[in-house]
Symmetry: C2
Subunit: 205 residues, 2 copies
């Protein structure tokens, strides 16, 4: 049995989603970032963390997703290529693209508007975040063109990251162009049953 | 024979460094970000990319480092734990910490001061980058305390990321506190012979 530490209104939702795709049991502690629970499980005070039944603690959503996919995944759930192969390198490259170019602008905006000291907050950073996010979506459109998922036929970690970011972006008021291959793709991944169940179980907004 | 696409004054230096640690032969094309070469090998126009002898192209420094370490590395060069293990999850967690909290602030500052359109540039972003970088170094100090490298005894991908970021930070004028465990660690990794050879071969500044 896994335990997830992290509010479902954070990147912890990615972990709940993956656990549902993999049909694994879990308990959860809906801790907010920088809470006592968060600080106890991640030196940076971030969530999510995953605790294994042996008591091992893993922090960072990407590390957790790659762990769960590498240990439990297959082509019918959350797929991963084996390490040291060029296919795995391509998978990792797409994952890092999602972190940098899709998650990155949202994260920069959220840190600036919520977590940073008031003296440092810059309302103008929203324009930069909008610009970077639009650029990220334009590259995502090229990457997803003609494919069902980012790796092709198999649903995988970067799809969870992008699917989560789409919901996060909407909640922050970022614009996602409608009626193109990106919006179709994002709707496709967000319609997955595992996400619906994860949101219902954890009451994610 | 590998071919690296990327100026040594970018994250491509991480790849040159890893190839020297692994004692692998390579050719290189010192392309700048958003150059014709960069756009031809990465849809985001970023460098580095790595081309294998079979003509496969891998972009993103973290994906490339994990590929090279997974394929060629061992405990005497650039170490990786096997996928699906908790040790590998911890390694990936540390790698993502380095990307988010050490590389992230430098990247935000550099994009704002170099790559973004003039109308979006915010000089005040420097204060945010300084704040985030200092926070990242404070967490790095806790992570490295009592250890030789971030994984303990074995030199690995996150050490290359941090070692590279230390040089990058200095070139951008960011402050790194001297005479503590972080500065000792950063000096230790930057003194490695493979980095020196990589810089000399590619004439990195």
């Amino acid at each position: 049995m896994y335990t997830v530490i992290g509010s479902p209104n954070t990147r912890a939702l990615r972990v709940y989603w993956a656990l549902e795709e993999l049909q694994l049991d879990y308990e959860f502690i809906p801790a907010e970032p920088h809470s006592t629970w968060a600080k106890a499980t991640n030196l940076s005070g971030k969530v999510p963390s995953l605790r294994t039944s042996e008591g091992f603690n893993i922090s960072d959503s990407v590390a957790i997703l790659n762990y769960l996919s590498g240990k439990h995944g297959n082509e019918h759930s959350v797929f991963s290529f084996p390490m040291g192969t060029t296919e795995r390198a391509e998978q990792d490259s797409i994952t890092q693209f999602c972190c940098d170019d899709i998650d990155g602008p949202l994260s920069m905006y959220q840190k600036n508007s919520v977590f940073h000291p008031s003296s440092l907050k810059l309302p103008e950073i929203r324009s930069i975040a909008n610009y970077e996010f639009s650029k990220g979506l334009a590259v995502l459109e090229k990457r997803i063109s003609g494919k069902e998922f980012l790796l092709g036929d198999f649903f995988s970690v970067p799809d969870i990251i992008c699917g989560h970011c789409a919901g996060w972006a909407i909640s922050l008021g970022f614009s996602i162009p409608q009626s193109n291959e990106v919006s179709d793709y994002l709707k496709r991944v967000r319609r997955r049953k595992a996400l619906k169940i994860a949101m219902e179980k954890t009451r994610a907004k």
